[in-house]
């Protein structure tokens, strides 16, 4: 099994979720994160106090898929999340040792 971690622009969530559902991947965990790569932040000014904000709001999508689906899933995410502009994000692929469905005690590929 592989875990996919994708950092995407927040407004792309619906598109990515639907694209993954179309290839049969229907479970994921989403968290609100802050980060930057090469995209510059912005400046805020409150009554003369200036703050440079480097960290931009992003969404992190985590989903675990079977090995044979991994490549297709990565491609799907990347395609759905792309805008072509700087700050689109990244997808990382990690190995997963074990997965268990809590309700049914299923293990391995059955659990994802």
């Amino acid at each position: 099994m592989k875990k996919l971690e994708a950092i995407i622009k927040p407004f792309k969530l619906e598109e990515v979720k639907e694209a993954l559902a179309e290839i049969g991947i229907e479970g994921m965990t989403v968290s609100e994160v802050k980060g930057f790569g090469r995209q510059k932040g912005h400046t805020e000014i409150y009554r003369g106090s200036e703050y440079t904000v480097d960290f931009l709001p992003k969404l992190k999508i985590e989903t675990v898929v079977a090995d044979d689906q991994s490549a297709q899933a990565v491609e799907t995410i990347a395609k759905a999340a792309k805008t072509g502009k700087i700050g689109d994000g990244k997808v990382f692929v990690l190995n997963v040792e074990e997965a268990i469905r809590i309700r049914t005690d299923e293990k391995g590929d059955e659990a994802v």
């Binding site: 805020e44 000014i45 409150y46 009554r47 003369g48 106090s49 703050y51 904000v53």
Partner: protein
């Protein structure tokens, strides 16, 4: 801490006892007086009620005018609304979320403490006959007050309306020391400062026989009494308490700007009671005070917004609402004497000058007047107190007649403004040092990092 509270309670008990014995001694003398007043009231009521649509009596002989009374009752509510929750929300939104409750608590508790203080001795020392610098003890605990007597409005209403001013003045200072001053120190400072600064200044400007009143100072609603005093005290405290940990290094942006905007709206609307009620009557003068208040606020907001638009490329909502407050503070002393165009000028000057103090000078000298109490209220009050001398003149659309001399009035205004500022400065410094040496002004570093809501009040504002 417990010794301090026990000491204060003992002092209060002694004071109440001596005050009480004064009431007993005076009772016999005032009984005859009250009988005479009661007889007068009955005669007036007998004659007045029969006629429908009577004219209000305003001959200063002590008759109650219902229209004046109705408006000032409403104005009292409006001005109290300015503190709870107008100022509370304005300040609350500007601090970080870990400190929002502490700011709300400061404003709320000061409201309560000042109410009792005003009843016990504040009103008497401020607004009864005494000497030119302080009143007397005639109305301690409101003894001798006749609920049915007054000059236009019942004296009880004068008590209430003026009370809302003694409430908001120490509440204003909160913005300078927020996020780092101990709650106990806030209460102690506010109470003693109200007695030593607000009350004498109030007496000098508005009290019978007041030194500045007799000199002819113009301060309708408290440019000197409220804004200059609060502004100067704020500057003193923010320097003495010191800047917040991480000031100028860490981001300390407002946690809830919508709250600030809401608070500003409440302050602006409430200011109609603040300025519009300070004539103590429902009169065309009161209406004009409201009119110029509106004009000054709007003008100053436009000016501040324009400056930001030009300098930063983006006009901020915080700048807009702050500009409005600057205009409101500046028009406060002037609202009885200037016309609409004068109000535009005052709004313009206060927008520029308050912006300069709050944004340019504050960052140059790096003092942490966190919510710009000095920059907006102190400086705004100064601007209006000085400029009213010019714009009160009839050639500038003001209410004075041809015999009015700008130069002489300017001298009075400058003397009053700087004199009161100087007095406030000295007392505030002494008081700040005194409290720091006894109970300490500032929370410790850990408490400040955790947030005053948890450290001083044991609560979190936002529990999802």
């Amino acid at each position: 801490m417990r010794k301090l509270i026990t000491g204060l309670l003992l002092a209060f008990a002694v004071f109440a006892w001596t005050g009480g014995s004064q009431i007993y001694a005076q009772d016999e003398a005032s009984a005859a007086e009250e009988a005479a007043v009661a007889a007068e009231e009955m005669a007036e009521e007998g004659g007045g009620d029969a006629t429908a649509g009577e004219e209000g009596s305003d001959d200063g002989s002590g008759g109650i005018d219902k229209a004046d009374t109705a408006w000032i009752m409403a104005a009292t509510a409006l001005v109290l609304f300015m503190t709870i929750p107008g100022l509370s929300l304005f300040y609350g939104g500007l601090v970080r979320s870990k400190n929002v409750l502490s700011v709300l608590m400061h404003c709320f508790f000061i409201t309560c403490v000042m109410t009792i203080f005003w009843l016990v001795c504040g009103y008497s020392l401020a607004l009864t006959e005494g000497c030119p610098f302080i009143g007397g003890f005639d109305r301690v605990f409101l003894k001798g007050l006749d609920p049915n007597a007054g000059d236009g409005i019942p004296e009880s209403l004068l008590f209430m309306f003026q009370m809302t001013f003694v409430i908001i003045t120490p509440a204003l200072i909160v913005g300078a020391f927020c996020e780092r001053m101990k709650f106990s120190a806030v209460v102690a400072f506010s109470l003693i400062w109200a007695l030593l600064v607000y009350v004498p200044v109030c007496h000098m400007v508005w009290g019978p026989g007041g030194w500045l009143l007799k000199m002819g100072v113009i301060d309708l609603a408290g440019g000197i009494v409220v804004h200059i005093t609060a502004g100067v005290a704020a500057l003193v405290l923010c320097i003495k308490v010191g800047p917040r940990s991480g000031h100028l290094k860490e981001k300390m942006a407002p946690h809830n700007l919508p709250m600030c905007v809401m608070g500003t709206g409440m302050l602006w609307v409430g200011w109609f009671g603040f300025n519009g009620g300070s004539d103590l009557g429902a009169s065309p003068d009161g209406v004009m005070a409201m009119l110029v208040t509106q004009v000054s606020a709007a003008t100053a907001a436009i000016v501040w917004t324009s400056i930001e638009w030009y300098k930063n490329g983006k006009p901020s909502v915080l700048g807009g609402v702050t500009g409005a407050i600057a205009g409101l503070a500046a028009i406060t002393p002037a609202s009885g004497e200037v016309g609409p165009v004068g109000a535009m000028c005052i709004g313009t000057v206060s927008g520029i000058v308050c912006w300069y103090f709050s944004v340019v000078l504050k960052n140059r000298f790096k003092y942490d007047d966190s919510l710009d109490v000095f920059g907006v209220h102190g400086v705004g009050g100064f601007v209006g107190t000085i400029l009213v001398a010019v714009f009160a003149a009839e050639q500038f659309g003001g209410m004075k007649d041809a015999s009015y001399a700008i130069g002489a009035q300017l001298g009075i205004q400058v003397l009053a403004a700087f004199g009161v500022a100087g007095y406030t400065l000295i007392i505030s410094v002494a008081l700040a040092i005194g409290i720091d040496k006894t109970i300490g002004l500032r929370v410790d570093e850990n408490d400040e990092r955790e947030g005053l809501d948890v450290a001083d009040h044991g609560e979190q504002a936002y529990n999802s």
